[in-house]
Every structure is written in C-alpha cells, then in structure tokens.
C-alpha cells in the first residue's frame, strides 16, 4: 500500500470505530453507505495508470503523501460571493461566513451533516443514489470520510431567480491533510435554479469533493463549477447528475488551480426527453495536470447531450480529456455531440484526449471531434501586419480561443471574476485588459 492509501485506510478504520472526528449520531443508512465506501476503497485502492479511466493521469505524486484528517481553521480572508451563500472551510461548515439572506421561499440551503441529524428522511432517498459509479475509489473515499457539505433543496415548481453559492475554502496548515466535502442538491419538479460551486485555497492539500444532484421532471439547473485551488493542491471532484424527464442541466467547469486537478462529470439521462449541455475550460501552466472525465449515460429515448471542452496549456502542463457517450439499447432518437479542442502554447505542454462513443442503437445522431493545435501563423500574421505586438497578438488569439467558454458562465459577477482569473493566467494576459 502506498503512503496515501495507508493514511486513508487508517482513517477509514478509525471511522468505523466511531472515533472523535466522525460526526456522531448518524442515521443507519449513512453508516451503511460509509461501510460500503470503506470496503470499496480498501478493495480498489488508488487507481493506477493501468486503470482505463486513469491511463493519462498519474497519481504517483499524490500516493506518495501522507494525508491526515482536515485541520480546523478560521475563515480566511476572501472576497465571498453575494448571499445567499454557504461557506465551508476545510470541509467543515462555517456558519459565520455563511449568509442565507434573500433565499426565496421553497428553497432550503444548509449543512448536510446537520440535516442528517435533524431530518434524515429528506436525505435518505437521494444520498448515495445518484453517485453510483461503481468501484470509484475517490467517490468511495469521500463517502467513507466526509464530514459535511451542502444540502440544497428546491421544492416543486420553485423558480429560484437568485444565484445560490457554495464556497469551499481550504487553507493549508502544517501537515498535509485531505478534506472531503459532500454535497447533495435536490431539485423538485419544474423548479429552476442557478448554482455555483467555487473551490478556492492556498498551499498544499487535497480536496476530494462529491456532489450529487437529482433533477426532477422538467427541472432546469445551471451549474457553474469554478476551481481555483492552490497551485500545490490536489483537487478531485466528482459531479453526478441524475436527470428526470424533460429536465435540463447546463454545466460549466472552469479548472485553473491545483498541481493535479481532476473533475469527473457523470450524467445519467434516465428519463425521456432530458437534455444536458456541458462545457469546460482548463487553463494550465507550470507542471499542472488538469484532467476532465465526462461520462454521459443515454439510458432513455429522445435525450440530448452536448459537450464542449477546451484546453489552453502552457509551460510543462498536461491536459487530459476523456469523454464517453454511452447510448444504451432502447435509447432511440438520441442526439449527442462532443468536442474537445486544445491549444498548446509551449514546447513542453502536452495533451491526451480520448473522445469516445459507445452506441448500441441505430436511431441516433452522434458526433464527436477532437483537435490539438497551436496558435495559427496566418492569424498571428494578420494581427502583426496591423501593428499589434506579438505578445498582445498571442494573448488575443489565446483569449479568443478560450473566451466563449468563459462567456457561458451565467451569473454576471462570477463571469467577471472568471474572466479576470483566466486572463490573469495567460502569458501577457495583463495586455488584454482593454480587449477582454
């Protein structure tokens, strides 16, 4: 066993004996989930390059570390998004920084751990029912070790106009630790919501987040996931979405931070007429590894899925994209498309991409595309011949490539923030202030 596996195994075992850090008084279904998670992790251990889903992302750097339980920490100074917001620090609920003012009626937001103590019946039908990826090591680890996370509930038919913010702050302190935030979002029939998950931090640590989202019939959710963890951090995120009939899910994933950051989006189009639209942007520099895995399970007829993921890679960074569209038998009239484009800006940047289609049905319209290239000489020449400096021209073309992903971020203040963060990470990005 590697050092990391050993440290997680220790914590999982201790947890089973009900030691201090574990929230007490958990209902039996949670205990059962935790036990199953523990068993799965102890059996699967950390995935290696031999695992098809991990063939391009090595966990060797992570596996060589010892991770303790998350340290208690004060709320760091950070510019927090407007209310209503839930704030978590090192995986623990931070009531002081949380502000639920302006929360419309029919919408509930709060600590998951608290809800598990006070009204477990509301959680039981959903928790662990959406995140069903089999033998998922990090999902299982999260289930075994989570302390808290957000519970967001929208009653049937509620059109929630305000943006709901979930903020996960992590501050490194002394020994390396792992936080395992666990979120559950339940959206009732015909309800509408805009939800933002932000991950921020500084220093070295591991965040292993799981978000389960269940969309009722006709529900509409826009979800923005912005990852700006510390440059030394490990970020692992699993987003599992289960969609009801005619529901619509729009997801954006912006990945900027972390020495190793992997986001998995797994969407189950489980009822007729559901549609999902996923976008992603990863901007890597230094020795970062930014990885996205997207799995769309077309299990019902007449569902639509769209995926567009873009990568900008500089320095010696690595971009990884694995997309899989699985059209099951009987999922007639499926319409799926998938695109992954990558821009390599330096000698040492690399990209590995595998956009996959698995189709067990004939009445479908599916396509996928993947491209890898650099800034085009003719475009550069066009700008240079019009007196634009080379540095600005490169920055402009890079921004032009990435900007449509940023434009998709719904809430205005978040879009501004993301735009600033993305341009800030581009070489000569400061030149773009006027343009972008």
């Amino acid at each position: 066993m590697t050092l990391a596996e050993q440290s997680f195994a220790d914590q999982l075992e201790k947890g089973a004996a009900g030691v201090e850090w574990r929230p007490t008084g958990e209902p039996s279904f949670v205990c059962a989930l935790r036990a199953a998670g523990r068993d799965t992790f102890l059996r699967t251990k950390l995935p290696t390059l031999k695992h098809e889903d991990w063939r391009y992302t090595s966990l060797a750097g992570l596996a060589a570390q010892h991770f303790g339980p998350a340290a208690r920490a004060l709320v760091p100074a950070a510019d927090l998004p407007p209310a209503p917001r839930l704030v978590f620090v090192n995986g623990r609920f931070a009531p002081g920084a949380t502000d639920l003012s302006g929360l419309p009626t029919g919408v509930r937001m709060g600590s998951l751990a608290l809800a598990l103590r006070e009204r477990p019946a509301a959680v039981e039908p959903f928790m662990g029912q959406v995140a069903t990826a089999r033998d998922h090591a990090f999902g299982a680890l999260n289930t075994g070790l989570f302390e808290d996370g957000a519970l967001v509930e929208l009653e049937d038919g509620v059109p929630c106009a305000v943006t709901l913010h979930l903020v996960f702050l992590t501050t490194a302190s002394g020994a390396l630790f792992a936080a395992h935030p666990r979120n559950l979002v339940v959206v009732g029939k015909g309800a509408r919501a805009t939800l933002v998950e932000s991950y921020r931090g500084a220093g070295a640590y591991l965040v292993n987040a799981v978000t389960e989202m269940a969309l009722g019939e006709g529900a509409q959710v826009e979800h923005d996931r912005v990852q700006e963890d510390g440059q030394q951090a490990f970020h692992l995120g699993l987003l599992q979405v289960s969609q009801g009939a005619r529901s619509r899910f729009t997801g954006q994933s912006i990945a900027l931070g972390g020495q190793l950051a992997r986001v998995e989006a797994r969407v189950l189009l489980g009822a007729e007429g559901a549609a999902c639209d996923l976008h992603g942007l990863y901007v890597g520099g230094g020795k970062q590894v930014l990885d996205h895995l997207v799995y769309i399970d077309h299990a019902s007829p007449r569902c639509v899925s769209r995926e567009v993921f873009k990568g900008v890679l500089d320095g010696a960074s690595r971009g990884v994209f694995a997309g899989r569209v699985h059209v099951r038998e009987g999922a007639q009239k499926t319409d799926a498309s998938q695109v992954n484009s990558n821009l390599l800006l330096s000698e040492d940047a690399t990209v590995d991409t595998k956009p996959q289609l698995e189709i067990l049905n004939d009445d479908v319209k599916c396509s996928h595309g993947g491209t890898v290239g650099q800034i085009r000489e003719d475009q550069l020449f066009y700008l240079r011949s019009r007196g634009v400096s080379e540095a600005l021209a490169r920055a402009m073309l890079t921004w032009a490539f990435a900007s449509d992903m940023v434009q998709r971020v719904g809430p205005e203040e978040l879009r501004v923030r993301v735009r600033r963060a993305v341009t800030g990470r581009l070489a000569n990005g400061e030149l773009l202030r006027e343009v972008a």
Partner: protein, 481 residues
Amino acid sequence: MTQEATLRELTEGKYKYGFVTEVETDQVPKGLSEDVIRTISQKKGEPEWMLDWRLKAYRHWLGLGMAEPTWPNVRYPRIDYQDIVYYSAPKPKAKLGSMDEVDPEMKMAFAKLGIPLAEQQRLAGVAVDAVFDSVSVATTFKEKLAEKGVVFCSFSEAVKNHPDLVKKYLGSVVPYTDNFFATLNSAVFSDGSFAYIPKGVRCPMELSTYFRINAQDTGQFERTLIVADEGAYVSYLEGCTAPVRDTNQLHAAVVELVALPGAQIKYSTVQNWYPGDADGKGGIYNFVTKRGKALERSKISWTQVETGSAITWKYPSCILQGDDSVGEFYSVALTNNRQQADTGTKMIHVGKRTRSTIISKGISAGRGQNTYRGLVKVLKGAVGARNYSQCDSLLIGDRCGAHTFPYIEVKNPTAQVEHEATTSKIGEDQLFYCRQRGIAEEDAVSMIVNGFARQVLKELPMEFAVEAQKLLGMSLEGSVG
C-alpha cells in the same frame, strides 16, 4: 418491397463461399509444445537460427501465462490453445512446376472462389502466390518479377533462399515480444509471403496472395514481410475467403512492412472469412498484428475492407520514424448478424513533418458490434506533425452497436491533430429522396451505403475494388455497393 424487408433480405444472405475442400493433409498433433515447434521447423526444413527465434518467442509466450488481452470490445469463449492443430500442409505431390500439376480439387476450390489461377495468369497481370492451408502451391509471374530483381516468394522459401534479408528484417517492426497473438505467431507461424523490392524499382505488377483456411481445426499463422528498399514502390493485395465451419478457427497473423527512405508501400486487404451463422455459431477469430515502419520521405498506406470473421481484432499501424514520412489508413469494416469487430489503427509520429490520415467507415447491421479504436501519438520530436482522422459509423437496425474509441496523445505544440466522428442510421430523408425520383428501395440503400464507403473503396487498386464491392455485397448487399 418494404425497406425493412429489403434490409432483412440483404443482411441475412447466406455466406456464399461455404464449402470444404477435401485434400489429404499432413498434420502435426493438436496442442503446443517445444516439440511441436521443433516439428514444424523441421518439416519446413528451417535453419537453426529460425528455430531458435521460434523457441524464444514460445518461451516468452509461456511467460505471458495464457493471458490474452482483455481490453478489446469483443466477447468470445476462452480459446484452448492446446486444442488447436498448429501445422497442416496439403499432402504434397512433390514440387509443382506448372498449373497442370496442381491438385484438381484445389483448383476447383479456387474456381469457386472466383480466383481461377490459370485465368489470373493470362489476365490482370497479377502475380498470385496462393496460400492454401499454409503452404504455397503455385507461384506465378516469378520470372517477370525476377527480371526487375523483385523477390516475391513464400516465407519458407525466403528463409531458405534469402536468409540475410529475413534475418535483418524479421521482427524489426513487430518484435516477438510485441503482444500475445504476435508472440504466438512468432512461435508457430506456418508460412506466408515475402517480398523485397530493390532500390529504385517500381514493382511492375500488383503483388497478391490469396489466403485460405481449409483443414478443420487448423489455426492459420501467416507471417508476411515486405521490404521496399530506397525509392522503391510496391502495391500488395491480400484477399481472403474461408469455407463454412462449425468450430471456431483461430487466425493470428503478423504482417511487417519496412519502407526504407523514399519508398512507398501500398497494402490492401479484403477480408471475407467465414463470419459464423446468424446465431453466432462458428466463424473465424481473426487476431492480426499489422505494422509498418516508414523511414525518411517514405509512405505506407493501409487499405482494408473487413466483411468477414466472427471476431476481427486488427490495428494496421504506422511508425512514422523518418522525417517527412506519411502514413495512411483507409478502412471499411462491416459487421452483421453476431459479428464483432474491434479495429482501427495507430499512427506514431516520431519524425519531423510526418503526416497521417485516417479514414474509417464502420457499418453495423443485425446484432453486429463494430468498434473503431485508434491511437494518434505525436512524440516530442515530431515538429510540424499533422494528422487528420475521420471515423464514421452507419447503423442498420436497432440491435447493433457502433463504438468509437480514439486516443490522441500530443507532446509537441507544432503538431496539428484533428479527429472527428459521426454515427447515424441510414438517412430516411436520403432514402425518400431517391424513392421519390423512382429509384428502387434496394438500389437506393445500395447507393447510400456505397456513397458512405466511397472514400475508402476508391483507395483500392482497380482489380481489387471490383472484388471488394462484390464481397461487401455478399455480406450486406445494397449496403455497400
């Protein structure tokens, strides 16, 4: 006729090449051991170094612990490697000097397949090295080729007559440690073809071999090696049909191509082995390793039309080692009934300004499962590498499957790599358009699918294009014109 009925009629056509030729065969007992390998080597009168190479491969294979790769998207019962006859040769009638001496039954077999040797000799200008169960029985046009200095013979002859060339290039592209099936082949390969085209020579005719699997329970382990010396050009055709069988037959071939600087090799395949019946009973298991190594300014082009076999596992690949080398892969793969195909290519860009093109067309009907699996890898030194891949799938019926698994790995920023794929069923609007203009249903289906596969079929040499269309038609008339 309704569209459904047409499709059913066309997709459920019987395999038209099913027959068994009864020729006395000279077999070694079932199973695999060092003794069997020694026997094969001895029967073929091979020199010591060849036997040593086989034994090395066999020992390596044992080390693999019978563990076949499990990653392909195909399902089949476990193969018992001790239940296979590893060598069978038609009982020889001494050396054959002319066509008249060829076993009449064998001639009949070729005639049924539409490859009458005698006619081929007169027409076409195609030299046929007919492999009938592992041993070459007739080789034509040899003198004409000899004039140009082209060596085209069976692999066994090459081992005897051109040992230096064989020693130099055998295993240089597909080493005996390459993969499970290539290792097995290296240990027990029976025969195959060898071609060497000397410097600057443009081979005066298309080289061709017809492989047939005949004796029951005989795995065929062909080994083909083609070397095009500097500036040479050769077009090689390979076509296959096999008779109806109830027991599954294993085929694990290895093809190695070496294109020296400035050379061009065009390798075309039409594969139509017995696919098994409608319930998936019988059929050939086809596990093939094909790879070419391209040096400076050389070009390797693979074209394949895969309509047969119960299982196809095949990835003709190019190692674009030299600067400015070019790799191409054109494929039509058709699966019907319960056929499964997991096929594609690998393009490894090593040299500067290397270019590759991949065009893959998969057609699935009945309960067929068709998988494209391809790798485009651009190594760090491959400055200015360029790849374009297109993989399209056509689905006919709601119980078949089409899968696309491309892998793209880029380690050089100047590389430009594009991949695109589509999957769709036969367009009802297209059918309607044709029907509206008075084109019969089956002609319309034929036209549409013909159009779908056209990009690949046009890459085949003339002589082959006709046959390819015929063979495709046998498997799915009207689907691929």
